[in-house]
Amino acid sequence: MTSRRGFIKGGGLALFGIGIGGIPGFLAEAVAGTQSPGLFKRKKIMVCIFQRGAMDGLMAVTPFTDEYLKAARPTLFMSAAKGSSEKPLIDLDGKFGLHPSMSAFEPMFRDKRMAIVHGIGSPNNTRSHFDAQDYMESGTPFKKGTDSGWLNRAVGLLGHEAATPFQGISLTTSLPRSFYGDNAAVAINNLQDFNLQMKGNPASVNMAAKSFEDLYDQTSSNLLKETGKESFDAIKMLQKTDIKNYKPSNNAVYPNTALGNSLKQIAQLIKMDVGLEVAFTESGGWDTHFNQGKETGIFARNVNDLSESMMAFWTDMETFQDDVTVMTMTEFGRTVRQNGNGGTDHGRASCNFILGAGVNGGRVHGTINPLSVENLEDGRDLAVTTDFRSVFSEVADKHLGIHNDKVLFPEWTSKTIGVMT
């Protein structure tokens, strides 16, 4: 099989000889928005979004028939009944209602492309953001010293060598815990930075580039030599498209937010066919202790960003939709009862969203019992009924073909809940 890198090399593409910025014609044809010429077997791609701060799953996807919840949240509870407020919850199945600011999710849910898991969380009952995120990202909820993250292990379990340096990418300023480990993973905050950055004239830029390429090509250190080659290949790959003036397909409009921009760049990478298989990004602001709001306010803004960003990504993916699965995650949920500041405090279970062609969608998976005090964890929180590892491993298994869940999640035995078809 021709690997991406082999292809670049085989093509004898000496971009720096031509001059940085020059786009070879045959590659220019494979510009954004169209698929690559089909020279390579396209790989499946898993995109993870970490909602840092702990999303209130009970407000995102509300069990609106639950009288206990209604009583526990006098100023936060929303109803699905029409006319109950300007914007009622979106009734998904007679039991669960989607927050009205997440209306972007509705068509994907109805279309069975999106599944929701409610009552998902960690078996470790820590309410510390740091600890809970750490455990979820390392994938070992009772062990801090695990040196790798679960996404890094996922990359290692893909079963084939990385054809390109873009196999595992995080759209963040530094590498997240999820990607710590021995397999190559790169943190890129902005694709446009992925180049030699010089302000000089083209000739001297070219000379610096050529100098580096030659030096790294000849160095006695294999590590530096190989990575150097990869870096220059990577620059060349990215140069085949005009990253700055990217036009999403299908008139998709990404919100101008950190998450929107990250997903847009992931979409670009996917369309450029640079070998991306595992992508990570994050969104913040979910720690809503104060004035969480209802139809409007912090929470409404956050879920609106999340749903609009994901919908834009999905729309933009167009013909790539079969290859991509997006999964959200958050470290824990929030208290059933609202606090004295119109917000909610650190709790246990939350919910997550999985979007993709292979998803057993249109359903709210998992178990939520009536929210009476005796059913709550520690008498106050939505109980964790689904271990996050069962959902993560099922998505990784079904979508990426990663079967070795002993390595993916050590000290854990797989129990799938059927969130993928």
């Binding site: 009952n125 309410r127 510390s128 740091f130 750490d134 062990k143 801090k144 010293g145 695990t146 040196d147 340096p165 300023t173 530094s174 815990r177 710590y180 021995d182 790169v186 890129i188 992925f194 030699l196 950055q197 010089m198 302000k199 000089g200 004239n201 083209p202 000739a203 001297s204 070219n206 000379m207 610096a208 100098s211 580096f212 030659d214 030096l215 000849q218 160095t219 250190s221 590590l223 530096l224 990575t227 150097g228 870096s231 202790h289 104060f290 004035n291 969480q292 709001g293 306010g297 912090i298 208290t335 606090n339 004295g340 500041n341 119109g342 405090d345 650190h346 520690d378 008498g379 106050r380």
Partner: protein, 643 residues
């Protein structure tokens, strides 16, 4: 497995006491060091360069000469002592006063955001119904004004000062080895600024816990870390309890959630009633700090060690007590003088609380800890771990990995481990054994380490004799290159191997760093390339390459690097293109076009519009730009990534 290791160590250490005792004088005696570099075929200058590569953040120009003049052994001895005067550095650190605050003072001056918010609400400055609504800028401004009116600082500023001092110390301290060891031991006992709860205590952790102990006994280092607020919080031992928890002993009440209802507090209490044993620290102290993952302990050892360490927590800090708030009242009630009588131990910021301690019998690594051991059994446990033969080997290997190469010769590690066991874990002696061994000087060790991003950045500014006035700019670059200092989340610390640092994005940023630094595009980092060469302007780009690569990488075989670059530099067409482009470019305004002229000087402030002078300026600009580029390429070259 374990037994056999012990036997090997026992026999080796007997052997070592026969062979080596004479060459290891007592602490107070002068060292009689002798480095076997000649056997490895190294000249004295090459050996000096190797020492500089391993025990400094990079050679400055002239360092090799100075070291040879002083004598290699003498230099190393003075670095081990680490008491050279650092006046220059101290004045540079002047602006960063808060790095000297105690944890108590930090607690008072830098209260965390939720606390400030609660106070602001209480004082009526902020209406709690307005939070999250309306203009966020106005809200943040209100909070800032309130904070300032109270004389509070923002934690970010404290951490910024802390990071700035790290960069400055590494760049300018004369006690380079102590600085490297501080970095090494910090990373070994990693705590992370990503965990907000412990972030404000990290500066004191480095200053009081790590720095004074870097060449001392390993057991002192271990004990100091175990009792530090940063570690107690980072690995959760401060919450660990072997007994039902007293009513007031709920950390959320003081620290965390605002406005919690009584009912919820009760629920949390119920949750904690069972006693809250937390094994995190106990596990990592064995796996990461002492024995190593293959050190022969079991899960049962971990649990029992956690029980031994129950009650090890944080004393009340600051006016409100912070994490020790629950014990503030207790201490006030029984009186500070009566603490010991009541079974408490207060040692600085550390507090042992007897009512939280599990007083039953425990067995760890086959050793029995009798009931009623109290605080002392924790000390005994840590000492036992610090002196274990697996620890000796694990620590020795880690030191050799950092200072020799990524896969240190097992023979070298054995020698160091023997010294470790023989000297009661004396780090200084272990370091002496390492450098006195032929393996340290072998070809397998020379230039076989890949610089971490931090090491790369600091070695570059040292090599170019840069004036760093905005250290944070360097920190940002180091982060971009893949090493967010102090923010490594896992207790493992940053991995210490080349593969970890060298990946596509990171490598590209290393090249970009070299270009940016040499072209003076990093604000607050000034260099004077001509001064580095005694103000001689190189006559050609080839001359620049020859001169500066030798200045920046002394005593290295650079023939290959030079060979590769020369044809490029000599390409007449290219040179012409650059000259032409430079001519077309507007006359440089130092402020805007710093990459061209910068501080290289000699450029008149305003250039008269006469064509002759204009031409001179253009030539100079071309040369300067060429020089900057050559130096940038050297910094970004594979050879400079190695040490």
């Amino acid at each position: 497995m374990k037994a056999s290791v012990k036997i090997v160590f026992a026999s080796l250490s007997m052997l070592s006491s026969l062979v080596l005792t004479s060459s290891f004088p007592k602490d107070n005696e002068p060292y009689k060091l002798s480095f076997p570099y000649k056997h490895a075929g190294l000249t004295e200058r090459q050996a000096a360069a190797h020492l500089l590569s391993r025990f400094t953040y990079g050679a400055k120009s002239g360092d090799v000469d100075a070291l040879v003049k002083e004598g290699l052994e003498k230099w190393y001895q003075r670095q081990l002592d680490g008491d050279l005067s650092d006046k220059g550095l101290e004045s540079m650190l002047e602006p960063y006063k808060d790095i000297n605050l105690t944890n108590d003072e930090v607690q008072n001056k830098y209260p965390r955001q939720p606390k400030v918010l609660r106070m602001a609400i209480k004082d009526g400055v902020i209406n709690k119904d307005s939070i999250g609504k309306g203009d966020q800028k106005v809200y943040r401004k209100q909070l800032q004004v309130y904070r300032e009116s109270k004389g509070y600082g923002q934690e970010q500023d404290l951490l910024r000062q802390f990071i700035n001092q790290k960069v400055l110390r590494a760049t300018y301290t004369n006690n380079q080895l102590h600085e490297l060891l501080t970095d090494f031991w910090f990373n070994h006992f990693n705590v992370s600024l990503t965990k907000n709860q412990c972030a404000a205590y990290v500066p004191a952790f480095e200053r009081d816990v790590i720095r004074p102990n870097v060449t001392g006994k390993f057991s002192n280092l271990l004990m100091a870390t175990a009792k530090s607020p940063a570690m107690l919080i980072y690995l959760d031992n401060y919450t660990s309890s072997g007994k039902p928890v007293a009513t007031t002993d709920i950390d959320e009440m003081q620290m965390g959630m605002s406005g919690m209802k009584q009912r919820q507090v009760k629920a949390i209490k119920q949750r904690k009633q069972g006693g809250g044993l937390n094994e995190n620290y106990a596990r990592e102290v064995m796996e990461l700090h002492t024995l190593g993952v293959d050190g022969g302990y079991t899960q049962s050892d971990v649990t029992q060690a956690a029980r031994v360490l129950t009650g090890w927590t944080i004393a009340p800090l600051g006016e409100d007590g912070a994490y020790g708030a629950a014990f503030k009242k207790v201490i006030d009630r029984i009186g500070a003088a009566n603490l010991v009588k009541n079974g408490f131990i207060k040692d600085g910021d550390f507090l042992f609380v007897p009512t939280r301690h599990d007083n039953e019998e425990k067995i760890i690594l086959g050793k029995k800890f009798a009931p009623g051991g109290g605080y002392e059994e924790g000390v005994e446990l840590l000492n036992m771990l610090a002196h274990n033969s697996a620890t000796a080997k694990f620590i020795s290997k880690k030191i050799a990995t950092r200072f020799v190469n990524d896969q240190p010769d097992p023979k070298l590690v054995d020698k160091m481990a023997m010294t470790f066991l023989r000297t009661d874990g004396d780090i200084k002696q272990v370091l002496i054994t390492m450098v006195s061994a032929p393996e340290f000087w072998s070809a397998k060790s020379l230039r076989e380490k890949t610089k971490s991003p931090f090491e790369l950045a600091i070695s570059a500014v040292r090599g170019l004799d840069a004036q760093v006035t905005q250290p944070y700019q360097l920190y940002n670059w180091i982060n971009k290159m893949g090493q967010k200092m102090y923010y490594y989340q896992a207790p493992t610390g940053f991995p210490d191997r080349g593969q970890y640092w060298i990946n596509t994005g990171a490598l590209l940023n290393r090249m970009n760093f070299g270009l940016a630094l040499a072209a003076q595009r990093i604000p607050g980092v000034k260099i004077d390339l001509l001064a580095l060469n005694n103000n001689h302007e190189p006559e050609s780009s080839e001359a620049a390459l020859n001169t500066y690569s030798k200045l920046i990488m002394p005593e290295r075989d650079l023939s290959k690097t030079l060979e590769r670059l020369k044809p490029l530099l000599n390409d007449p067409e290219l040179t012409m293109k650059i000259a032409k482009a430079a001519e077309k470019a507007p006359v440089p305004q130092p402020k805007v076009n710093t990459m061209m002229a910068g501080e290289i000087g000699m450029m008149p402030e305003a250039i008269p519009d006469s064509s002759a002078k204009r031409k001179t300026a253009t030539t100079q600009k071309t040369n300067n730009s060429m020089l900057a580029q050559v130096v940038g390429v050297i910094i970004g070259s594979p050879e400079f990534q190695r040490k």
